[in-house]
């Protein structure tokens, strides 16, 4: 009885993301399920690919078919690839004016607060619904600075086609892993950003990804090039309604941070809990460049997510701040990877992981310091909080150092909410449930303080939602 009450509370709380619109043949084109040569060719034709991209897709499919599944992460046995549709598209096409977006899709993004955020705090927005962007806009003053922020398909055919070809899946080659190969075969949607030399974009750009179709995959590609001395904050948000069938997200993010440039890439991921989130993110940082990741993982049934940074240039830096909250039925395997190649490079990885109600949270990472990375420093700190003994929390970090001229410090801790802290708060009139939520919010504070205010509020709301019904 009590369990039923708890469940219903949790379900109601998820409703702000868990709404869905019927997708009919009249308004949507949907590719048949599965990943065959015929389907890949049809997607390529539908998207009017240049010939090199068509060939690339087929090569990727071949790699996908011949590659083994990873043997180290969460189980994906319930993900039947023959039932996943690679491509679902609104027949309306992409709009540059919010008023032209179809009503049902517009309602979806209105509920998620995207247009409001655009008006109040963003320099540009891209909104992807299923496989394609439905809306893309960038503020005039930002465009006037020479900043390019466009949907990926337009970039592939437009003025920046050569730049796209030069960078596309060069950081994440299709041979990297099975789902990178799948991404190369059926990618669709996503954004291209180019920030010219010395341009500092004062307010963030944002892409929002919504996967509304049941049993579909989303394979968007994000390519960001921040040129020498430039500065950008890019925010990515993801959500989906919950269905009884598995959905798949196998996106790919490639980030190029130029000399003395800075890129902050923030993600609040709240995919529905039927989602397999097998996403790949990677950044290459040139001399003096700075890459900052801020990552909050709350949704998905299963996640494999380890943003990787290659510190190629001397004096380049990386900072990763992440939180993962694994609740009932979730197996979230997240972390970060960094490779130090340049001299005087430095990296800081700081993660928080919370497991509750039978959820499995795994922190997995690797820090590699190659022989040329003299005078490099790496600091890794991972804290895990277990909220009950039905859950699991595992920490699996790897460190590979190939020079003596490096300093590496690693700290990991795992524990529970202190009874004394709960008692202290309760003695001051705070209910136990609120006290525990407050302590968890405090645990997550290093992440939320790295986010813009509106997103920090959203993250704290997500923590409160997850914590409610926990008692």
């Amino acid at each position: 009885m009590f369990d039923d009450i708890k469940k219903s509370v949790a379900d109601i709380n998820q409703s702000m993301y868990d709404f869905k619109d019927e997708e009919t043949d009249k308004d949507f084109y949907r590719e048949e399920a599965g990943f065959t040569k015929e389907i890949v060719e049809k997607v390529s034709t539908e998207k009017n690919d240049p010939e090199w991209m068509r060939e690339f897709r087929l090569k990727c499919l071949d790699i996908y078919n011949n590659m083994e599944m990873p043997n180290w992460g969460p189980e994906t046995d319930d993900l039947d690839m023959d039932l996943i549709s690679s491509y679902v598209k609104s027949k309306t096409g992409m709009q540059g004016d919010w008023n032209d977006v179809p009503e049902d899709i517009k309602n979806t993004f209105e509920k998620l607060g995207i247009p409001q955020a655009e008006r109040e705090s963003l320099a540009g927005v891209g909104a992807q619904y299923d496989s394609e962007l439905v809306y893309h806009n960038v503020k005039d003053e930002v465009a006037a600075q020479g900043v390019v922020y466009t949907d990926f398909e337009s970039a592939l055919h437009g003025e920046y086609a050569d730049m796209v070809r030069e960078h596309f899946m060069k950081l994440v080659p299709p041979t990297d892993h099975k789902y990178a190969a799948l991404h190369g075969a059926v990618w669709s949607g996503g954004s291209f950003v180019y920030v010219p030399k010395g341009v500092k974009v004062e307010i963030p750009l944002q892409s929002y990804f919504r996967l509304n179709a049941a049993g579909a995959g989303q394979f968007e590609h994000t390519l960001i090039i921040v040129d020498e001395g430039a500065d950008l904050h890019f925010i990515e948000g993801c959500s989906a309604p919950k269905y009884n069938v598995a959905n798949l997200h196998a996106g790919c993010v490639e980030l190029f941070v130029g000399k003395n440039a800075r890129l902050r890439y923030s993600t609040i991921e709240n995919w529905s809990k039927n989602m397999y989130n097998l996403n790949t993110k990677r950044a290459l940082v040139e001399e003096g460049g700075v890459m900052e990741w801020v990552s909050g993982s709350f949704g998905s049934h299963t996640s494999y997510l380890y943003p990787m940074t290659i510190l190629q240039g001397d004096h380049s830096k990386m900072e990763y701040t992440g939180i993962t909250f694994a609740g009932k039925g979730q197996n979230l395997d997240t972390g970060a990877k960094v490779v130090h190649n340049g001299k005087y490079t430095s990296s800081v990885i700081s993660t928080k992981s919370i497991s509750k109600d039978g959820g499995i949270g795994t922190y997995r990472s690797s820090v590699t310091i190659n022989s040329g990375a003299k005078h490099s420093k790496a600091v890794i700190s991972c804290d895990s909080l277990m909220l009950d003994s039905k859950s699991r929390s595992d920490t699996i970090p790897g460190i590979d150092i190939r020079t003596n001229d490096a300093d590496v410090g690693h700290e990991a801790k795992i524990g529970r909410i202190s009874d004394d802290a709960v008692f202290y708060l309760m003695s001051r009139g705070i209910k136990e449930e609120d006290a525990r939520a407050m302590i968890v919010s405090g645990f997550a504070d290093p992440v939320s303080k790295e986010l813009p205010l509106e997103y920090a509020v959203e993250m704290n709301n997500l923590i409160k939602l997850e914590m409610s019904g926990n008692m």
Binding site: S366, N404, V408, I414
Partner: protein
């Protein structure tokens, strides 16, 4: 015989490209010439049974093995769980099932070291093996320390400089209620010898397992220890020191599996890598469901003294229990400039300062050896290398 085995598997696999999920060992045309260590000293009160069938020697582990299998039914393991690969072992060991198969293939009988219940033997039992050129030894020890008793066992291995064989040692232990086992292992083999050291055991209620280990020689050393803290308030203490020079390769795998309530595991790994030496170190704290109130702490401190060394570490904390406190810390790097400056200000040049620091690091482990002769032997060995 040929040896092909996978050893030192991580309890939970990770990225394949890191190549740290375990190590493959391949040796061709190995002929073992000795099948036990020499018992140098057997104090009064200790019984030594030689040539015992393995099944009989290891039967003491059967009840805990069955209990663990039952407890693990329906267990939600970590992602990439490798436990099923070793479920057949009557007692889990660090190197894993590969060594058990090797012992079977070579037909190695066990030496059982045992004392009576309620006995405290203050003098250590001492074993030794010396390898000469063309010789290889494989041995199997089972140490049984029953309830309310205490025993110290010391094993050391050395060789002639031109020895080129294998020193393979398997040690399994049972520590009863309120009992204590102090186990000391010192490896000073020559630079062409390969060394396998496989260790595993169980510790019952309020029992204590205290390991001091020094790995300083051999061309390749594969060393694994798996300690199962089964009883409530049981303890494991591990102090390991290692020195890698020339092209030495070390592959370590230590696991503290904490099943009982209020168990305590503390491990410190201190070492130095010089020249072209390389080291893989895997250290895992595994808090099982029911290990409420347990604490675990692992600390690694590795000094890197050459640009050509390779140092790889995998410190895992696996947790299926809310009320635990697990920690891991690692400090990996070279001597600090402050330390060198301090030394130089006192007229000590850089090379001498390095030697002092290396020596201090290894001496901090060596001083825990409860035998003066062996301590002196370690000092002499280090003098020759450094």
């Amino acid at each position: 015989m040929n040896i092909d085995m996978r050893v030192n598997e991580l309890p939970a696999r990770t990225y394949r490209w890191l190549q740290l999920n375990g190590e493959d060992v391949s040796e061709k045309d190995i002929s073992f010439s000795a099948f036990s260590l020499e018992a140098v000293k057997v104090p009064e009160g200790v019984s030594l049974l030689e040539n015992v069938d393995a099944d009989k020697a290891e039967s003491i582990f059967a009840p805990s093995h069955e209990a663990n299998l039952k407890a693990d039914e329906g267990l939600v393991g970590p992602n990439g769980d490798t436990a099923p690969n070793h479920a057949g072992q009557i007692v889990r060991t660090g190197m894993g099932t590969g060594v058990d198969s090797l012992l079977e293939s070579a037909g190695v009988k066990a030496t059982v070291i045992k004392i009576a219940e309620g006995t405290v033997v203050s003098e250590p039992v001492m074993f030794h093996d010396h390898l000469s050129k063309g010789k290889s030894t494989i041995s199997r020890q089972v140490i049984i320390v029953p309830d309310n008793s205490e025993l110290t066992v010391i094993m050391d291995y050395d060789s002639d400089a031109d020895a080129d064989g294998i020193e393979a040692v398997s040690t399994k232990f049972f520590v009863g209620k309120d009992a204590t086992l102090h186990l000391v292992k010192v490896q000073m083999l020559g630079q062409k010898v390969r060394h396998f050291d496989d260790l595993g055991g169980v510790v019952m209620e309020k029992g204590k397992f205290d390991l001091v280990e020094m790995e300083m020689g051999a061309s390749k050393s594969y060393v694994g220890a798996y300690v199962s803290l089964l009883g409530d308030e049981s303890q494991s203490l591990n102090n390991t020191g290692f020195l890698g020079t020339d092209e030495q390769f070390y592959d370590f795998n230590y696991v503290a599996e904490q099943r009982g309530k209020k168990t305590d595991s503390m491990a410190t790994f201190r070492g130095v890598l010089e020249e072209r030496a390389s080291k893989n170190w895997r250290g895992s704290l595994d808090f099982r469901e029911g290990s409420s109130g347990s604490v675990g702490d692992e600390q690694e401190d590795t000094l890197l003294l050459s640009p050509d060394v390779i140092n790889r570490s995998m410190p895992l904390i696996l947790c299926k229990e809310e009320n635990v406190d697990g920690r891991h810390g690692a400090t990996i790097g070279q001597l600090s400039d402050d330390m060198l400056f301090y030394m130089e200000a006192r007229g000590i040049d850089k090379e001498t300062a390095k030697k002092i620091m290396v020596r201090a690091r290894l001496d901090s482990v060596a001083r825990m050896i409860p035998d003066e002769d062996l301590k002196n032997k370690v000092a002499l060995f280090l003098d020759q290398i450094l």
